[in-house]
């Protein structure tokens, strides 16, 4: 008995020491991630976890309906619902495209010779995880590098802008939601045309900040992406403006996100509207401005024609 008591008493400090070591290791792990290089070292672990969750989710989803489901008609109903949902998703893309085109037309009328947005291609993905908690507001979608998704791809759903892809795994991608505090989206009021930067707040709505024009928004107007910054294409619906309580006399403009109204469990991932800078995509030929002007002028064309004759 005394021997057993001695053994237990002898092991207790060892357990406390082990506890202390584990806590210190966890703390050290947390602190070293302050360095971006070390934080990036752990990034593959997150993408791998995302891939595993997506793979698990797909295994669960691809079950075949049973005999009972066929007999009761449940299988046919589910198939019909799936078809209709797919159709609604497809049509909602047309709706978004139409709104975007109206915006563009307006811009073209005011700016002659303006170049349009590049054509958008993308992939529709299913949301397989919505990790909650006090940290980043993200979604995990079941399309990744293998499906052509890359970092900075834009996620939209039937309601409008959902967020931006911040991490890509082989078959999964993580989307930073537009409702998160760390997300920054350049937007403009649909009617007022006032520009601002939008970010998420704690209550689930957005805050409009950094307005270069300092003008007021029109309460109830829609907020669209402005296309500035080169990531979000112009004209994607983000939400609806309303005036919130601000500090002093100044109104704090808030946004009720439209993505929350239609959380259908699917997102479309489209490439960012990034236009490469001239130094990133230089002209490949030797043609200079002087040569271009020479070739464009009628006299040079006439000269060339005469020479040929």
């Amino acid at each position: 008995m005394a021997r057993q008591a001695r053994t237990v008493a002898g092991k207790r400090p060892a357990r406390r020491l082990f506890y202390g070591v584990l806590l210190a290791l966890a703390l050290a792990l947390l602190i070293v991630q302050g360095a971006p290089g070390i934080a990036a070292f752990f990034s593959p672990a997150r993408t791998l976890t995302g891939d595993m969750i997506v793979a698990g989710g797909q295994t669960v989803k691809t079950h075949k309906p049973g005999l009972l489901a066929h007999l009761t008609g449940q299988a046919q109903n589910e198939a019909r619902i799936d078809r209709l949902e797919a159709r609604v998703r497809e049509l909602s893309q047309y709706e978004l495209a139409a709104r975007s085109m109206a915006q563009r037309l307006e811009a073209y009328e005011s700016m002659l010779n303006a170049l349009g947005e590049p054509p958008r291609k993308g992939v529709t993905a299913r949301i397989v995880a919505e990790p909650g908690g006090p940290f980043l507001e993200t979604l995990l979608a079941n399309a990744g590098h293998a499906q052509g998704v890359r970092t900075d791809y834009i996620a939209v759903n039937e309601g409008g802008l959902v967020g931006r892809v911040i991490e890509v795994g082989d078959i999964s991608s993580r989307i930073l939601m537009v409702t998160d505090y760390n997300s920054r989206v350049p937007v403009l009021g649909e009617t007022s045309g006032v520009r601002a930067i939008l970010f998420g707040d704690r209550d689930g709505d957005g805050v409009l900040d950094d307005r270069p024009e300092r003008d007021a928004f029109i309460p109830g107007e829609r907020v669209l992406t402005s296309g500035e910054g080169g990531i979000f294409p112009r004209g994607l619906t983000v939400g609806e403006v309303y005036p919130g309580p601000g500090s002093g006399d100044e109104t704090r403009w808030r946004v009720r996100f439209s993505l929350a109204e239609t959380r259908g469990g699917f997102v479309r991932l489209i490439p960012p509207a990034r236009i490469p800078a001239p130094e990133d995509a230089p002209v490949t030929g030797e043609e200079t401005l002087a040569e271009t002007q020479r070739s464009d002028s009628p006299s040079s064309a006439e000269t060339a024609t005469t020479a040929v004759q």
Binding site: K11, R15, L29, A45, I53, P134, F135
Partner: protein, 182 residues
């Protein structure tokens, strides 16, 4: 009677199960709860607060004092929570371990075996302390004030989950007993 004849062998098997089997089962249960929590959780348009399974496991296993294997299991659960919730690695590990140590220390110091009120109250206080700790860690690491209401909701659901799964987290060991579990 027929129901009893079905459940009795399972219960007998469970009563005979050693600490290692119980620890494995508890870890699997907590992992399952964490993974289910990744699915969309809205009910009639209202977001449902999901319990912190790591905290439940920490409090459940700490009833019998400090042990090495539960600590390792809590580290694994914490890492899983960090990876799935986009938290910096180590956040949930620290929160789980601190809650585990806190409850083990309190249970050892206050002799909860002979005080039923303390025995029932301390787990919930420990869960609250763990949630507050999580809020503090998130507050220190984030560049904004972290919303309290969702965390409060998560603490409530964690407190509701605890009495349900607590029998499955008993390690079949008396406080201070060393045999088998290390």
């Amino acid at each position: 009677m027929a129901w009893q004849s079905l459940t009795e062998p399972v219960l007998a098997q469970w009563r005979r199960a050693g600490p290692n089997i119980r620890l494995l089962l508890g870890t699997g249960l907590a992992t399952g709860i964490i993974l289910i929590g990744l699915t969309p959780r809205s009910l009639f348009g209202i977001d449902v607060a999901w319990p912190f399974a790591g905290l439940v496991a920490a409090v459940g296993w700490a009833r019998v004092g400090l042990s090495i294997r539960p600590m390792l299991a809590l580290c694994l659960l914490g890492l899983l929570q960090d990876l799935t919730s986009m938290a910096p690695l180590g956040c949930f590990v620290i929160v789980n371990l601190v809650t585990y140590g806190l409850y083990a220390a309190m249970a050892g110091a206050l002799d909860t075996a002979h005080d039923p009120v303390l025995d029932r109250l301390l787990p919930y206080l420990s869960l609250l302390a763990g949630t507050v700790m999580l809020w503090l860690v998130a507050y220190m690491l984030a560049s904004q004030t972290v919303a309290l209401l969702p965390l409060l909701g998560a603490w409530l659901t964690t407190s509701l989950l605890y009495p349900i799964v607590q029998p499955l987290l008993q390690l079949n060991r008396r406080p201070g007993e060393f045999g088998g579990l290390a």
